[in-house]
């Protein structure tokens, strides 16, 4: 069943999106608690304010067809949509031995494009753009109709790797969609110091690909525009760059109080919170009641509780393994 004014998404899908939005937020709040208990030992980078676009864009992919999403650090929601398990995310942050990277890498830097439908970024921003182009290229060579969806930020879109990757993907007309998250700041650097371009979507002109700027806190718009771009890419239409305007509501990471961000800006964007806005829309359009939404929150909390218990019980890695697995033939990862 669909409801008018919801861009052809079935009610079931809308509720699914509402679930992932809350799952993202609740899981991150749990990670903050674990960080304060010193159980999360590495950096913790919040996506507060950006859950909407992360979930909505990733929801536009078809993972059964082999589509692949590549999140940045603030796109936890995207990998949850792709199928990442909350317990694995917590294990990663807690540096556990049975985390997807077995304690070798942290946070949401994990995943295998062919196995999981997602692949985490590396810390060198922009590098994943050519990598995602290569994944799309392989898909085309293998006669599959998969599409890749890469996230990059306002800061990351300044890097050489971003430019080279976008240029190559556009020349090759690869089935790839790139979401440029303009969240106002790259660490402490405002977007105005990052680029002289009027919009980040303007960069698409240089590549000769499609480019569009949209409201990143409008879940339906992000889903709709991404979906069209994905289908266009799947049909051979090439690359689309989608700038989503959103806002980073926290500092760069937990250690950063973001004192350089004007308080008015934070207050202004708090009013535009994508999760609340989407939930209100569901109620207004009669897709869900407040009780339904409360039930989602309850379900999410139970799942995050269970995931936390599971991750907490996980062992730390065996120090004897520190030298293993450098080369595939070692067999370390087979076991």
């Amino acid at each position: 069943m669909t409801t008018p004014g919801t861009h052809d998404l079935a009610n079931e899908q809308l509720l699914d999106i509402a679930y992932y939005l809350r799952l993202t937020r609740t899981l991150e709040e749990r990670l903050v608690a674990l960080f304060r208990q010193a159980k999360v030992i590495g950096g913790l980078y919040r996506s507060l304010g950006q859950e909407g676009e992360s979930v909505a864009a990733a929801y536009a992919l078809d993972y059964k067809q082999g589509d692949v999403v590549q999140p940045l650090i603030r796109n936890l929601g995207a990998i949850l949509v792709a199928g990442a398990k909350p317990a694995d995310v917590i294990r990663q942050y807690m540096a556990k031995g049975d985390s997807p990277t077995r304690g070798r890498e942290l946070n949401i830097h994990f995943g295998h494009p062919a196995r999981d439908g997602f692949i985490g970024q590396i810390s060198m921003l922009g590098d994943m753009i050519p990598v995602m182009a290569g994944i799309a290229l392989a898909g085309r060579m293998q006669k599959r109709s998969l599409v890749t969806l890469a996230f990059i930020g306002d800061g990351g879109s300044s890097t050489a790797a971003f430019w080279e990757g976008m240029n190559f993907a556009s020349v090759q007309k690869l089935p790839m969609v790139v979401i440029v998250e303009n969240n106002g700041y790259a660490y402490s650097t405002p977007t105005a110091k990052q680029t002289a371009a009027k919009t980040l979507a303007d960069k698409a002109y240089a590549f000769g690909c499609a480019g569009v700027t949209i409201d990143g806190n409008d879940v339906l718009a992000v889903h709709d525009v991404t979906k069209r771009a994905v289908e266009n890419a799947r049909a051979g239409g090439g690359v689309t760059l989608i700038e989503v305007k959103t806002f980073r509501m926290k500092g760069h990471a937990e250690h950063d109080n973001a004192s350089y961000v004007p308080k008015e800006l934070i207050a202004e964007w708090a009013e535009k919170d994508a999760v609340v806005r989407f939930e209100n829309l569901l109620v207004e359009r009669g897709v869900a009641t407040r009780e339904d939404l409360a039930a989602i929150q309850k379900r999410v909390k139970d799942e995050v509780d269970a995931a936390t218990d599971e991750a907490d019980k996980s062992p730390m890695p065996d120090p004897a393994d520190a030298g293993r697995g450098l080369y595939i033939e070692d067999g370390y990862w087979d076991a």
């Binding site: 995943g111 295998h112 290569g134």
Partner: protein
């Protein structure tokens, strides 16, 4: 098979591997219609089509990055650097992305990054690099540097079939200067195995790439003085054949490490340290290194010749060791 040059050996390896395995493809600048700046990829486009012989923009990051992404999906890309010097433009994505796939994520990333390296061709400071040293301290890559046509073909085939990223350093001075009869049958040269190409008992020269020929010249000269030189062609820089190195040193008790890259921080320093740690008792003289001066490779022939190792320096080092 008629005599095959070093460059033809590389071309043959790519032809044969692409015919054998449809997952293998070539990606790089001017590799298609033009056949590569040195014609290394001659005939590949006609035989395998533009989908498997991909001309790219001038973008080493894109070449290595896209190859890595495709490799994660089960393809076996060969990424060509038009000159190895330009690998520095893609250094980050190679060492931070490609090389770390196995250790961090358990992902196989079977790419080969290959291209012409080395000096002696008056290429100047930006077309003469010997890059092995700057990759040696970044775990995750394999590094090979063939010095013969046989090894060029066998190591490239091994690199393409390897499940890890392999840096394949071909020496452009050798491209058309050496040739030999190659086996008709399919063969590989295993990565990680050195070749004792000349047996001797008085002195070991441990070397690789084009320097094996300089070592041969020096050995011939020394043979006139009844000095018997053993030449260990390392072939693989990482992982390297420690056993072969130690065995030779244990036999000759004197060793020169000869490489074309600059001396300080070069790969030779690692081998010297390894010998000092594990074969100290066998040494009758200090470990000697002969390498390029610690400068970028200059263009003008007299300067280039003075910067790179030559026979006189190898002989001087040998005589010093023999007299020790």
């Amino acid at each position: 098979m008629p005599e095959t040059t070093y460059i033809e050996a590389i071309t043959q390896a790519m032809h044969e591997e692409m015919a054998r395995d449809e997952r293998v493809f070539l990606i790089g600048e001017d590799v298609g219609a033009y056949g590569g700046a040195f014609k290394t990829s001659a005939g590949l486009l006609d035989r395998f089509g533009a989908e498997r012989v991909i001309d790219t923009p001038i973008s080493e990051i894109a070449i290595i990055g896209a190859a890595s992404g495709a490799a994660l999906m089960g393809m076996r890309p060969i990424a060509e650097m038009q000159f190895m010097d330009f690998i520095t433009c893609g250094y980050d994505i190679l060492v931070n992305f490609a090389a770390m796939n196995s250790y961090l994520f358990g992902r196989a990333c079977p790419i080969v990054v290959r291209g012409p390296a080395g000096g002696g061709t008056h290429g100047g400071p930006y077309h003469s690099i010997n890059p092995e040293g700057m990759f040696m301290n970044r775990p995750g890559l394999k590094i090979v540097a063939p010095g013969t046509a046989y090894d060029a073909k066998g190591l490239l085939k091994a690199a393409i079939r390897d499940d890890n990223p392999v840096l394949y350093i071909e020496h452009k001075y050798l491209y058309r200067r050496i040739k030999e009869n190659l086996p008709e049958d399919d063969y590989i040269v295993p990565i990680g195995k050195a070749n004792v190409r000349r047996k001797g008992k008085d002195l070991t020269i441990l070397t690789w790439g084009a320097m094996i020929w300089l070592a041969e010249e020096a050995a011939e000269e020394l043979a006139k003085d009844k000095v018997s030189v053993e030449i260990v062609d390392l072939r693989s820089i990482l992982p390297f054949d420690e056993e072969a190195i130690l065995e030779s040193v244990a036999k000759t008790n004197r060793v020169i490490i000869l490489h074309e890259a600059p001396l300080t921080g070069g790969a030779g320093a690692e081998f010297a340290a390894r010998i000092a740690e594990k074969a100290f008792d066998y040494l009758d003289a200090p470990i000697k290194r002969v390498a390029a001066l610690d400068v970028p490779t200059p263009y003008s022939p007299p300067l280039e010749a003075a910067a790179l190792p030559d026979k006189a320096r190898v002989l001087a080092a040998a005589r010093e060791l023999l007299a020790y």
